[in-house]
Symmetry: C2
Subunit: 414 residues, 2 copies
C-alpha cells in the first residue's frame, strides 16, 4: 500500500467503486482486488449507500460499521451516496454515484458484470444513443401497457437490438452498469469505465476470497439466524464478521424492514391520501392502494404482497415505503433533478493512504468535502439527517442518541 512512496502523492491514481456493502463480503474483497489490478490505481474510493439501500431497504448494520469493514478490507476512502440518490432507480443512483466519484478525481470507475467486458457496455451505449427515440417510444408503450420499468426497459432494449450483446438490460446489475457508463459518456467525464467479471456464487477461490456467496443469500442467512452461522462466516472477511458482531452487541439487532413495520404503518394510518400523494414514488394512485391494504396488513411482507402488481414491483414498493418512513417528498427530489453534479461529498472514513490522496486532491474539488453531517445548513443535509434518524428510530432512546452521534464525529481512520 506504499505506492505513493514510489509514485509520489501528486501522481496518485484513484479508481472508484459504487457499492452498498450490505454487508461487505468476500465478493466485495475480490471486486476491490480485481478493480485495483484492472485500473492500476493506487487509491480505491468507494461511494457507498448510507442508511437505506437502492432496493429500498434499511442496511443490515449502519454505514459507519460497514465503512469500517470496507476500509479494513482494502478500500482507501469511503464516501456516502446521499439518500436522495441512493434510494432511487438506476438513473439518479448512477448520476449521484458517478458524479461523487468524479468530484473526487477518480480516473476510472470499475463495476462488476457477468461478461467482464466493457465493450458490451460502450457498444451498447452507441446503439442506445443512435436509437434513443425508438427506445423511448417502445419504453413508453410498454409502460402504458402496465409493465413495470425493468420489463418495459428489457423489451425496449430488445427493440433496438440492445439485448443481443453480452449485456442483457433486464438484469438489474447490467442496468446499473449501463447507467454508470451512460452517465460518464453523456456528461463527458474524464473517467475510464471499467468492468471486471463477477464471481459466481458457487465460485471458490480460497487463496483470495474464500467462499463467494451472493449478497442476498448472505443477508438472508444472517437475518434468518440472527447470528453468524458457519455458512455465513465462510463468505465474510473476518473484519466484516467483527463489525457485524460489534454492531449487534451495541444495537441488539440487525436492521430489517419488519423492525420498521409498526412505524410505517402508524405513518400511513395518520396521513391523508393527499399527504401520501406528496411522498416521492407515489404515482398512479398508489396512495389509495397503500391506504386500503393497510387495514389488514399483519407484517411488512404481508402488506407489500397485498399491494404488489405487475406494475408495482417489490423494489419499487420498498423504495416508496422507505420514502414514507423518511418523509421524503416529491419536492425534495425535485431539488436534485436539475443540478449538474452533486451538492457535496460526505466522507465516512479513510486509510492513511486515502488521507494522503484527499489532502492533495481536496483543494481542486468543486463542491464541499464534509467530514461530518452539517446540521441543517442546507435542505440536503436536513434530508440526510432525517434518513439517519429514521434508520435508528427503532432503537431505545439512549442507543438512538449514541448511534446518531457518530454523524458528528470525525471520519473513521483505519
Amino acid at each position: 500500500m506504499n505506492t505513493n512512496q514510489i509514485r509520489g502523492v501528486e501522481t496518485m491514481q484513484a479508481c472508484g467503486l459504487i457499492v452498498e456493502y450490505n454487508p461487505f463480503h468476500n465478493g466485495h474483497a475480490y471486486h476491490i482486488q480485481a478493480s485495483k489490478e484492472a485500473s492500476g490505481a493506487d487509491c480505491m474510493i468507494a461511494v457507498m449507500s448510507g442508511s437505506f439501500l437502492q432496493r429500498g431497504e434499511p442496511a443490515i448494520i449502519d454505514k459507519f460499521h460497514r465503512a469500517k469493514a470496507a476500509l479494513q478490507a482494502g478500500v482507501d476512502i469511503v464516501v456516502e451516496l446521499p439518500y436522495l440518490y441512493a434510494v432511487q432507480s438506476s438513473d439518479l443512483f448512477a448520476r449521484g454515484s458517478v458524479h461523487t466519484l468524479s468530484e473526487l478525481g477518480v480516473s476510472s470507475i470499475c463495476f462488476g458484470s457477468e461478461s467482464g467486458d466493457i465493450s458490451h457496455f460502450t457498444t451498447g451505449y452507441d446503439v442506445w444513443n443512435k436509437n434513443q427515440s425508438t427506445y423511448q417510444t417502445a419504453l413508453q408503450e410498454n409502460m402504458a401497457r402496465g409493465l413495470a420499468f425493468p420489463e418495459a426497459s428489457r423489451l425496449a432494449s430488445g427493440a433496438i437490438g440492445l439485448t443481443t450483446g453480452g449485456m442483457d438490460l433486464a438484469k438489474p446489475n447490467n442496468i446499473l452498469g449501463f447507467s454508470y457508463v451512460k452517465t460518464i459518456l453523456d456528461d463527458q467525464l474524464p473517467i475510464d469505465p471499467l468492468t471486471v467479471g463477477r464471481l459466481d456464487s458457487d465460485y471458490h477461490d480460497k487463496s483470495i476470497t474464500g467462499t463467494i456467496a451472493s449478497a442476498t443469500s448472505i443477508r438472508n442467512e444472517l437475518i434468518k439466524n440472527e447470528y453468524i452461522s458457519e455458512t455465513a462466516n465462510r463468505s465474510l472477511p473476518g473484519e466484516t464478521a467483527d463489525q457485524l458482531q460489534k454492531y449487534k452487541q451495541k444495537a441488539t439487532i440487525w436492521h430489517r424492514w419488519e423492525h420498521y413495520f409498526h412505524l410505517v404503518h402508524y405513518r400511513v394510518m395518520t396521513m391523508t391520501e393527499a399527504e401520501l400523494a406528496a411522498i416521492h414514488g407515489m404515482d398512479e394512485g398508489l396512495e389509495y392502494r397503500i391506504k386500503k391494504t393497510a387495514h389488514n396488513a399483519a407484517s411488512f411482507r404481508d402488506w407489500l404482497n397485498s399491494i404488489k402488481t405487475k406494475r408495482y414491483t417489490w423494489t419499487r414498493l420498498q423504495r416508496t415505503f422507505t420514502h414514507i418512513l423518511t418523509n421524503t417528498k416529491k419536492t425534495d427530489v425535485a431539488r436534485i433533478q436539475h443540478i449538474p453534479s452533486v451538492p457535496y461529498v460526505r466522507l465516512l472514513g479513510m486509510t492513511e493512504s486515502g488521507r494522503a490522496y484527499l489532502n492533495n486532491w481536496k483543494k481542486d474539488m468543486g463542491v464541499p468535502l464534509l467530514s461530518t453531517l452539517a446540521r441543517q445548513t442546507d435542505p440536503m443535509s436536513a434530508i440526510e439527517e432525517k434518513a439517519s434518524h429514521a434508520y435508528y428510530s427503532i432503537l431505545p432512546a439512549e442507543k438512538k442518541r449514541a448511534f446518531h452521534h457518530q454523524e458528528l464525529e470525525p471520519p473513521i481512520m483505519v
Copy 2:
C-alpha cells in the same frame, strides 16, 4: 330506571354530563346520581372524550371500555366528543360538548364545581359579559408579558371582579364550568346549566360511593403499579375494575404517554421545522424548541421538562404533542372554527332506556347520529380515524386491528 313507563317516552327529560371517565370512578358515580337528582331527568347522557383527553393525554383504556363502565354505572347514553373538540383548551372543548348535548335535546347540563352553586357561574357570566373588553385587554396584556393562558386569565378575571365570588377562574375545573355556561348563554340554547358540589378526595360516603379519590391520584396509582391495588380498588366501581382488567388482558397495557414517546420522537426527527409549524398548537416558534430539545430527550417526561417554560405549560405541550402524534394540522382545526354546532353526533353505547330516548328524539336531530365511525365520508371522520389509529398504534398488528374494528361495530348495549 323505568321512569319512561311512568312518564312515557315522549316526555322523557335528558340531562347532559361532560366527562372523560379516565377511568370511571366513584366520584363519577356520585356525580351521575347527584345530577340525576338535581335535574329530575329520566335519561343521563354523557359526552365523553375519545382516545385522547382534554389535557393532551392518551386515555388509560380505550373509549369503548370506558363507555361500557359508564353505562354499567348509571349513564343511559354515551356519545363521543370528536377529537378536534376534545384535545383543546376550554372554549372549543365546551363548544363541542355543549352543542353535542344540545343536538341530543338535553334540557339541562350538570357539571361539578367546588361551590355547587350555579349562581356563581351565571352571575360571573353577567359580570364577564358587561366587562368583556376590559377582560380581553387585560388578558392580552398578560399574555404579552409571557404568562400562560390560565394565569393570564386569572389575573384578567380579577381585573373585572370575577374572582371575588365562589368561582375562581384560575382553577381548570371552574374555567371549564364557566365555559359551559358561557356557551349555553352566548348561543341562547334552551338548556338549564346546573352544578353539583364535588366531593373532596378525602370525603367518605360509603352508602353511595365508597372512597372518593381524585381522578389523577387513581390514574397515577394504576399506572405506577400496572395492576389494580387495594387503594385504587376502593375508589373504583366494580364495573370499572372489570373493564380495566379486561382491557389490560386484551391489550397487555394501560396507555400512557411514555408508550408513545418513540413514535412522537420519530415523527419530530423526520419532520422539517416548516412541517412542524403546520401542526395545531405550534405557535410562537415552539417548533424550533421542540426540534432542538429532541436530540437529548431520553423520555417523554424528560423531553417536556426540557421544553416547558412559564408560557408553554405542561398541558399545552401535551396537547401539541398529541396533535403531532395524530398529525392534526392548523387547517384541520380551522374546519370547526366557524361552524355553529357540531357536524355529527357519534354514539358509543346506550342502555335500553337510552335507546328509547334516542328512538324518540333522533327524528328531530339537526345533525346525523352516527352509530359507527363512517370511513372517510368527510374530513372530520378522517380525523377521528387518524386519532383512533394513533391511539392503538403502540399495540402489535393483530391487536391494533381487532381494537380498531370496534369502531365499525354497532354501539355497546348494556
